[in-house]
């Protein structure tokens, strides 16, 4: 009997912790109580999406409508950082989702969606199909270069960028090449060339301008040029979207990392306090709050933990980079963190992935991950002042064993 009771108590505890956000099922006392806020129909973008969706549902095999809607949903996912839109985009493409030979447009969108769930090999296969049919498909080529960059295939990415010559605008080609060169032993020249090219094209569309400025800012931050990085981040924030629109979550995350590195946590807290719906931004917010010694730091950390648990429950591994950082910076579990960082490294190899690998390797003293990180740095010639001191510690650690 006693045993049984102890078991119940433990089960209840586990439940309480794991599903803490369940207030327990209930019936609201007041019928007029607002129980959920939906993406509003007053919002013109949402109205358009609804209308496009209604039109498509009358004609689900209309490939033109389907790809247009999928494109809009992908854009919305990027802007809001809400993965549900990616599912809606996939649904729009349902009639062609399993076809090996769909139209180029469908395949490029399918590759983009597959990339977003880290199915990189499948994404590349789709893009290769498109490029075999139409070697001049700029969107497919750029997406291919991006996937190759993320997976650390710099030679392949550079080749993809070169193929854009004379097919894509000069700024796009240079952006492509500089993002490879910037992490592949050619940081200074890559930055200068891209900056000069951007200045020669003052009439660039705002979305592309923001993208380029974000890249430049990150490159300046890695080079340790704080003033330039700060200025570029601010320009990117200012140029992103129409007045009043929120900067996209990638840019915001990158800028906040820059600020956190420079001991400007208070600015991070102010920038992010209304953007915590997105896990990656809540993570930075919580780190800033912890740095500031804020009262709600523990609560933010608990909320993040629930979100990572929810992701693990559904078997998602898309957020292992963030989860590793969470374990290291907020939970103080360097051993768990380094395990996650290694799992993440097996999938993606961007500067942020290298950084968390280096930092968790140093914090945990794990020799295998240290070796992996140092080999990568030696092989690619990536320069990053933000991790230089930690890398030096790893080299010392390696030398002493």
């Amino acid at each position: 009997m006693n045993l049984v009771c102890r078991f119940c108590a433990r089960a209840l505890l586990t439940l309480t912790l794991a599903d803490a956000c369940h207030a327990a099922p209930h019936v609201p006392a007041d019928g007029r109580q607002v129980v959920e806020r939906l993406p509003g129909r007053a919002n013109p973008i949402q109205r358009q999406l609804l209308q496009l969706r209604a039109e498509l549902s009358k004609n689900p095999n209309d490939v033109g409508r389907a790809t247009a809607l999928a494109q809009r949903y992908i854009e919305q996912a990027r802007l809001e950082g809400d993965p549900r839109y990616l599912g809606y985009a996939q649904a729009a493409l349902a009639p062609w989702w399993k076809l090996a030979q769909a139209s180029d447009e469908v395949l490029v969108l399918r590759a983009t969606l597959r990339q977003s769930t880290h199915q990189f090999a499948l994404a590349l296969a789709d893009l290769d199909t498109v490029l075999a049919r139409d070697s001049g498909n700029v969107q497919a080529r750029i997406t291919r270069a991006t996937v190759q960059m993320v997976t650390g295939d710099y030679a392949g990415a550079r080749t993809s960028c070169m193929r854009l010559y004379s097919r894509a605008p000069k700024l796009i080609v240079q952006t492509c090449l500089s993002s490879v060169g910037g992490v592949n032993g050619d940081a200074r020249a890559s930055f200068d060339k891209l900056k000069a090219t951007l200045e020669r094209h003052p009439d660039t569309a705002p979305g592309i301008r923001t993208w380029v400025q974000t890249l430049l800012a990150e490159m300046a931050a890695r080079a340790g040029d704080n003033a330039a990085a700060d200025a570029l981040f601010r320009q990117a924030m200012a140029s992103s979207g129409p007045a009043g629109a929120e900067p996209d979550s990638y840019l915001l995350g990158a800028y906040c990392d820059f600020l956190l590195d420079r001991g400007r946590a208070a600015e991070v807290a102010a920038l992010l306090k209304d953007r915590t719906r997105i896990d990656a931004l809540l993570l930075r917010y919580a780190i800033a709050q912890k740095t500031l010694g804020a009262n709600d730091a523990a609560a933010q950390s608990a909320a993040l933990r629930l979100r990572f648990e929810a992701a693990m429950l559904r078997g998602d591994t898309v957020h292992q980079r963030e989860q590793a950082r969470f374990e290291l910076a907020l939970r103080g579990n360097p051993n768990t963190a380094v395990r996650l960082a290694m799992l993440n490294w097996a999938v993606q190899k961007e500067p942020a992935d290298l950084r968390i690998l280096v930092e968790t390797a140093a914090a945990s003293g794990d020799a295998a991950s240290a070796r992996t990180a140092l080999d990568w740095i030696d092989k690619t010639g990536i320069e990053d002042r933000t991790i230089a001191a930690t890398v030096a510690r790893l080299r010392a650690m390696k030398g002493s064993t």
């Binding site: 609201p28 959920e36 769930t117 809540l282």
Partner: protein
């Protein structure tokens, strides 16, 4: 203490959930099914946002969903959900894949808060034609409008839970309910049986009292060593088998409710059996066919085991399984004792030490202890009935 902490913790986390804007995450529903016999009770949490996308809940289109708006659509929500989930069990003797349906109904609807917003909570009930061993589940919620949606299932059976994830590529799944659970349950009862023998000193001492003279033979009013391992082993096997047979019979009869004795009578009789067995070593009356003595008193011990088993609480659906498991456990515990006792006793059986100190001394101690038990248990009886 734990309770206080839990309440405090829950309060903190609730506050946190309310204060915080809902997270962005991919769409999931949370389905919990509890299987008991042929009945399946369930709870299905589906995000209001997803339901709005599927069937439209926001009547006035202002983006603010009130409880009245949700409540007005309860019938539609139930109909939509039930059209996307089917439960069944494999049809006996049917073709592979043939399923006998377990009709599902929504019994009530509530509301709950998850990390990414408010969820409709549908309480479900399904009744299957016969007891569920394998549950066939066909889950298709939202897959048409969001193929990245996942259904996260927690399947409970007794104290055991398993999990499964439904995706468009794994929408139909056969879930083993009983088998895994039954084996676990069986072993749980085996463990209980072993444990009970282990802590049940009266059973151990009774057995020891019978086993102590088994490596000896009574000739001309004196104990002498048995000639061979074989002879000793046969005697031990006879005694153990008789005891096992007898207590298995009464254990089964009592557990199935065919025979019932007051536990005080049983406990006293068990103490008496130990006294008798020990005294018989000191002043031997029965020197041959000790197995018969083991059998007779084994009947009493069976009632003792049964009361333990009944105290553990027996699931009606797997009564026999638990009974057999418990009995197997008791025998395993017994065998362990014999395995330790027999070689040691055989080695020293010819010594005066064994005859005097172990047999006589040990039996005296056992008899004394059992007399204390006996008086305690009988005394208890008197006090209670007085």
């Amino acid at each position: 203490m734990i309770l206080h902490w839990r309440r405090a913790g829950l309060g903190l986390l609730l506050a946190l959930c309310m204060a915080e804007s809902a997270a962005h995450k991919p769409s999931d529903s949370y389905l919990t099914l509890t299987v008991a016999g042929n009945q399946v009770d369930g709870q299905w949490d589906i995000a209001l946002r997803d339901l709005d996308m599927a069937i439209g809940l926001d009547a006035d289109g202002n983006g603010e969903l009130t409880w009245d708006e949700v409540r007005a659509r309860h019938a539609d929500i139930a109909a939509y959900a039930l059209s996307r989930l089917a439960l069944g069990i494999p049809r006996a003797g049917g073709m592979a894949g043939a399923t006998a349906p377990c009709p599902l109904a929504v019994t009530s609807q509530l509301l709950d808060q998850h990390s990414d917003g408010a969820y409709a909570v549908l309480k479900l009930r399904a009744t299957c034609p016969v007891d569920v061993v394998t549950l066939d589940a066909d889950y298709r919620l939202l897959f048409d409008i969001d193929p990245q949606h996942k259904g996260l299932l927690r399947l409970a059976h007794g104290a055991l839970t398993s999990t499964a994830i439904f995706t468009p590529d794994s929408a139909r799944q056969s879930l083993q309910v009983a088998n895994a659970a039954r084996w676990r349950q069986f072993f749980d009862y085996v463990r209980h049986g072993v444990w009970h023998i282990w802590i049940g000193f009266d059973h151990i001492l009774f057995l020891l009292s019978l086993l102590l003279p088994a490596v000896l033979v009574r000739r001309a009013g004196r104990w002498q060593a048995r000639d061979s391992v074989r002879a000793s082993s046969i005697e031990v096997i006879k005694i153990v088998t008789a005891f096992t047979l007898a207590h298995s019979i009464t254990l089964t009869l009592a557990t199935l409710g065919m025979v019932a004795l007051p536990s005080r009578v049983v406990e006293s009789a068990i103490a008496l059996s130990v006294v008798v067995a020990a005294l018989n070593n000191l002043w031997p009356l029965i020197t041959r066919r000790l197995a018969l003595l083991a059998f007779a008193f084994g009947l009493i011990h069976g009632f003792g085991f049964a009361s333990v088993l009944l105290d553990l609480g027996l699931p009606q659906s797997s009564l026999l399984l638990s009974l057999v498991g418990f009995n197997v456990g008791v025998e395993l515990g017994q065998l362990a004792i014999v395995a330790v006792f027999l070689p040691l006793a055989y080695l020293v059986r010819a010594t005066a030490f064994y005859r005097k100190a172990v047999l006589m001394g040990g039996s005296s101690l056992i008899a004394a202890l059992a007399l204390v038990w006996l008086s305690e248990r009988v005394l208890d009886l008197k006090i209670i009935t007085a």
